[in-house]
């Protein structure tokens, strides 16, 4: 390979990039508004928020994620000069051996560029947590501060510790959280600043009132500003943490995960689901698996508890080079609340497929999954260098509905579209909602356009 070939390959693969969102500027403005509010909140001391949080130790975050607006800047720690925290902090000989540990690069153990200068290294944390020994070391590479974790069996000497592969990061002074699933009893360990309050949320909750929230609980403090939470390979992908300082939330995020989380490699078992409308032949088992895994993982509920129900599956408009399918699943939580999920898949001739999340809508208890009409915009690309993207609308209503009539955002009237089995794909247009009609023209149900999938902020799940 020469550099010309590399240039060609980079330019070819760059074309796999998505197109900028049509509302990119709006998204930037929204992000800046949140950021500005964070600054104001910090400057004002966040008195109102502090009052709310003090009065309510278990504060749920909202499904919309708007609480992000109250997030203040996290406390920064001088990692290169701060005293070591943890139960082994007094063992200077052991700390020195931790400091000398090699920082391997998992993909290139011989690469010395990954080694921070020895004289800059500082052991930020060292301690035995249950049956696991944990050491966290900071150092500089090319003038930038990095931090990494080492783990091993409690009581092990330094040379028996292994660096946790994926935990290195450049924002070393900011709070960090990591989970090493390769130790016998995995824990999530969060390093904040001294004085920080650290809480964990094991999973998102689908509430009876049709909201999806998270509830945070205190973890186990093992040092000032360092807190742990026991976890497993199944639970780790759903775990979130939150750091508060002076009763202001400064960080809400998910830990880095080292090791295999979630479904075991090679496990291709399709989750059980209900198919009351007979759409199973149109729904590839891999697509069902992908969708159900997303919901069961984030909610940490089983398929038995959620009763996945196939509401619709069929072809949707997309590039000519891929087979384009959308699937709509409904879930009923034990508390009666329901969740509708729509995802499109673009499968190429090799069997690989692109997954495009469309909708994730919760509803209050008291209605059946089949009662929820849906209008969602699908944006299906083929993932090729030409980056063909086809957008369309999918309307799924009551099985007895025979026509759908969009309500355009410009106030004009649209002509009804014929439905098959209560569903249809429509040309993309600026529509606010859709009415599902029977043969007599009576409106059986109305569905607003589903909110777009939120890229870059944790999808449509609350953080």
């Amino acid at each position: 390979m020469n550099t010309d070939a590399l240039r060609s390959a980079l330019h070819r693969d760059a074309e796999l990039a998505p197109r900028p969102a049509r509302d990119l500027l709006d998204q930037v403005a929204q992000r800046r508004r949140r950021s500005t509010r964070r600054r104001i909140s910090t400057a004002a001391g966040g008195l109102a928020l502090a009052t709310v949080i003090a009065a309510s130790p278990l504060v749920a975050t909202s499904f919309t994620g708007d609480d992000r607006a109250s997030v203040a800047e996290p406390a920064q720690v001088d990692l290169l000069n701060s005293p070591t925290r943890g139960s082994l902090a007094g063992d200077t000989e052991l700390l020195e051996s931790f400091r000398q540990l090699s920082w391997r690069d998992p993909s290139d153990p011989e690469d010395r560029s990954a080694q921070p200068d020895l004289d800059t290294r500082n052991v930020v944390f060292a301690g035995d947590i249950g049956d696991t020994r944990v050491a966290s070391v900071a150092g500089t590479i090319d003038g930038n501060t990095f931090i990494t974790w080492f783990t091993g069996t409690a009581g092990a000497p330094a040379d028996r510790l292994q660096e946790v592969g994926s935990s290195r990061a450049g924002v070393a002074a900011s709070p960090r959280a990591t989970i090493d699933l390769d130790v016998p009893n995995p824990i999530a360990i969060v390093r904040g600043a001294p004085g920080d309050e650290i809480e964990f949320s094991p999973a998102a909750q689908l509430n009876r009132d049709g909201t999806i929230t998270r509830t945070y609980q205190a973890g186990t403090d093992i040092a000032d500003g360092i807190t742990i939470w026991p976890t497993t390979s199944t639970a780790a992908p759903a775990l979130a943490f939150r750091i508060s300082r002076d009763n202001i939330v400064t960080t809400q995020s998910r830990p880095d995960i080292n090791g295999d989380a979630g479904r075991a490699a090679g496990d291709t078992t399709v989750p059980s689901y209900v198919d009351p409308r007979g759409y199973a032949p149109a729904a590839d088992g891999r697509f069902i698996t992908t969708m159900v895994d997303e919901v069961t993982t984030n909610l940490q509920l089983t398929t038995d508890q959620l009763v996945p129900t196939l509401l619709w599956a069929g072809p949707v408009p997309g590039p000519d080079t891929t087979r384009n399918t959308a699937v709509v699943l409904g879930y009923t939580a034990p508390n009666g609340a329901t969740l509708i999920q729509e995802t499109a898949f673009a499968e190429d001739s090799t069997g690989g497929y692109l997954v495009v999340p469309g909708a994730l809508q919760p509803f209050p208890a008291g209605t059946a999954v089949g009662d929820h009409p849906l209008l969602v915009r699908n944006v299906v690309g083929d993932g090729t260098a030409d980056q063909v993207v086809v957008t369309s609308l999918l309307a799924v209503g009551p099985a007895t509905a025979t026509q759908a009539r969009l309500t355009p955002t410009d106030g004009t009237e649209a002509l009804p579209t014929q439905l098959t089995g209560g569903a249809a794909t429509l040309d993309d247009q600026d529509a606010a909602s859709v009415d599902f009609l029977d043969d007599a023209g009576a409106v059986l149900a109305t569905a607003p356009l589903s909110p777009a999938y939120r890229y870059g902020v944790g999808g449509s799940w609350p953080q």
Binding site: M1, T3, A5, L6, R7, L10, R12, D13, A14, L16, A17, P18, P20, L24, L25, V28, A29, R31, R32, R33, T36, R37, D111, S113, D142, N144, S166, R168, A169, G170, V171, R176, P237, S253, R254, D256, I257, A261, G262, T290, D293, E294, T297, T350, G351, G352, Y353, L354, V355, V356, P357, G383, T384, A385, Y455, G456, V457, G458, G459, W461
Partner: protein, 173 residues
């Protein structure tokens, strides 16, 4: 609180966001993260836009923000974001002398540390000189030289030896 951007900032975003998003994608290999990265870089830039004296070089400025933001980001899993499951065109021949398969370069870049990856992208996609790359990354030319050399060696190895991660990119779920 309404945020109003200058018209020329809006024009800049309209004109340059596709190119910047491609750079972001080469840095992240992930549609969602690339969009997140671009939004973050544009938000940071928007705060300083009125103080940006040399608008002719705004692209370079935003690109620098993009790269430095990326190298400072946490690496974390986002299991519920866009999933890509693709089988590239790799025959079982035991070797692939050139990066001919779509996505091969991205797969190889995934194996590089963030800073080394940024050097490769700036040098060989954006065609910056070593000095320009050093400015963009805020490091020395010597560092760019060494990172570039090591990165090329790594890429050469990765792109001439098919690995399981190249032949099957598993969907994250």
């Amino acid at each position: 609180m309404a945020v109003r951007f200058d018209d020329d900032f809006a024009d800049f975003v309209d004109r340059w966001s596709p190119a910047l998003l491609r750079v972001a994608f080469l840095l992240t290999s992930d549609h969602g993260l690339a969009e997140d990265l671009l939004q973050t870089a544009l938000m940071k830039t928007s705060r300083r836009w009125r103080h940006l004296a040399d608008r002719d070089h705004a692209y370079s400025y935003v690109r620098r923000v993009l790269v430095t933001t990326h190298t400072s980001w946490h690496r974390r899993r986002r299991p519920h974001e866009v999933l890509i499951d693709r089988l590239p065109d790799l025959a079982d021949t035991g070797s692939a002398p050139e990066p001919s398969g779509l996505g091969d370069a991205l797969h190889a870049l995934d194996e590089l540390p963030p800073r080394m990856r940024a050097v490769i992208v700036l040098r060989f996609y954006e065609d910056l000189s070593e000095a320009e790359t050093a400015v963009a990354l805020g490091c020395s030319v010597g560092s760019v030289k060494s990172q570039s050399s090591r990165g090329l060696t790594r890429l050469r190895d990765l792109l001439t030896t098919p690995t399981p991660s190249q032949s099957y990119r598993e969907a994250r779920s």
